[in-house]
Symmetry: C2
Subunit: 358 residues, 2 copies
Amino acid sequence: TNQYSITLLPGDGIGPEIMDVTVKVLEAVGKQCDIKFNFQTALIGGAAIDAKGVPLTPETVETCLKSDSVLLAAIGGYKWDNLPRELRPETGLLGIRAALELFANLRPATILPQLIDASSLKKEVVEGVDIMVVRELTGGIYFGQPKGIFTSETGEQRGVNTMAYTVSEIDRIARVAFETAQKRQKRLCSVDKANVLDVSQLWRDRLIKMSEEYPDVELTHMYVDNAAMQLVRNPKQFDTIVTGNLFGDILSDAAAMLTGSIGMLPSASLGANRPGLFEPVHGSAPDIAGQDKANPLAQVLSAAMMLRYGLNEPEAATKIEEAVLKVLDLGYRTGDIMSEGAKAVGCQEMGKVLLQVL
Amino acid sequence: TNQYSITLLPGDGIGPEIMDVTVKVLEAVGKQCDIKFNFQTALIGGAAIDAKGVPLTPETVETCLKSDSVLLAAIGGYKWDNLPRELRPETGLLGIRAALELFANLRPATILPQLIDASSLKKEVVEGVDIMVVRELTGGIYFGQPKGIFTSETGEQRGVNTMAYTVSEIDRIARVAFETAQKRQKRLCSVDKANVLDVSQLWRDRLIKMSEEYPDVELTHMYVDNAAMQLVRNPKQFDTIVTGNLFGDILSDAAAMLTGSIGMLPSASLGANRPGLFEPVHGSAPDIAGQDKANPLAQVLSAAMMLRYGLNEPEAATKIEEAVLKVLDLGYRTGDIMSEGAKAVGCQEMGKVLLQVL
Ligand SMILES: CC(C)[C@H](C(=O)O)[C@@H](O)C(=O)O
Ligand SMILES: CC(C)[C@H](C(=O)O)[C@@H](O)C(=O)O
């Protein structure tokens, strides 16, 4: 029996509901595959603010560091929106990314044939889209110093953030990206703004340098404005995309929305010799929290990503992914992906049918 | 007779061809409206690099500053892509924006019913889309100091750019945005990343402050990642968007591509008491340069924006805009917007039919 210690961070909004379903799915697949999960739950985001006054406590970091993998649901909500930035739920998320050194964020955007009509794009444009965005997650403008709101000699306020990357930061995310591309269609598009930004110039130079070690991967470069356009115009041209923290934030969300069903998309954040963190792309949806309306499938698929990328249990991962496709084939849909003729189910009910087909 | 001195910057690639057509259209509409244009042509971009060794000369800046308005076509091309950044065509564009203090960039993204099928989005999603992106153009990370590639004590290279805005920079673009929204649907969405960036926090605070002076405009805020998603999901929700230089670069291109026909989109860059600059959203398309295949309509519509926003000649502007709609109604199409059953024309031919219907 393989045993894993998993930290659960249910967070806010719909987080606890979708986590609940996911734990049941993990336990069921664990039985089938002879895997034992030891779960512990910790606080993050608004839940941590309410209980401890800060969005991330040292105890939560400690618990995560000691576990084999971390499964996060979602954080944030109107309730905490007007707190100063240090005390906002998002700051807890940035904190755990930094603490676990989760420098590589993998965000797949895949069109499922069952849900293709949910896309706002024409069927022929999105059919078969299968993009992996590799986003740098612990550097760039999210963490660069100096930052703050400063008052100049003239008494005027000036807001400042710094977008910076060192060679080693670029090289390590480049490695993950090339290796990811190797397992896919072997086409890597690096997105930057090298026609304007010095930091992008260094980024591009390093990517070109690193590509010498991966002759089987075709490396191309695209400016971020053009990439935003091309994702809309013809998303099928992309296989693997690698980019910095801020551009990755924007482009991975745009890519996710091409599918029309972000309630279906998982993500993986990986570090160096530390537990990875796995979470859905969608947010905490405070407007439907506690109403059993949430779609748990992105969270369930995040658990599958955890099994595959974090715990090296591909068989169990595949079982979960197949179960998700099966419930879709059977016509079960939560509200966000509902379509005519399908069977409407709530969050818990979706969990039950998953267990039945697993 | 109103007289205007206009500096033409044809630039590179298809630039000269589409400028040619546009000058003829301006002269024709000038005759009808009793306006006299005095044109002078100056070098910028690759053309300036080839002739003078730099992408922008003091003479060109001088000529622009002395004129009433500047009409730019497009810059750049493969030929100059490997030069160091200071010598690249883009640097000339950034230079003229700075020299003319063109802090406000207006980028409309409008779906023309005649071209709705060109969109990669479903008809019901894009029908009626009419968005104006107001992008700050002379601040933010494009110009912030410090910037460069520095070597640390450990000998490692680090690329750095600075995203910064002062209160006065934010306030002046906010004013343009609120006033633009007042002339439209009175809904202004400010896009930032205030959950992560200090500079965005100041941006948001100032927008809220400024909104007190514009009680008739509804101000909302959206994070840039969500804005990229919402543009794809439901672009009709937007009226006027205001954002910083980098986010505006990305989002205005995404918005433009929703139309499926960026060969149709003009833009205006306005300064404080200086001549404005008007240019199409599309690039220099070096692959089709000199082949009489380019679509001149975005350039022609940029001239209309010049008449409306730069020279306060709305009647002449409207005449040009109506002529463009008329040639589309008559079924004339260049290659980029060609559809079944339409009449294929080249760049010059498109110019001729424009003159006929003007
Ligand atoms: C909540 C926010 C801080 C976060 C980010 O910008 O990274 C989110 O948008 C994401 O993409 O995970
Ligand atoms: C060419 C480039 C410097 C420019 C920019 O980034 O501003 C272009 O993309 C634009 O949007 O006008």
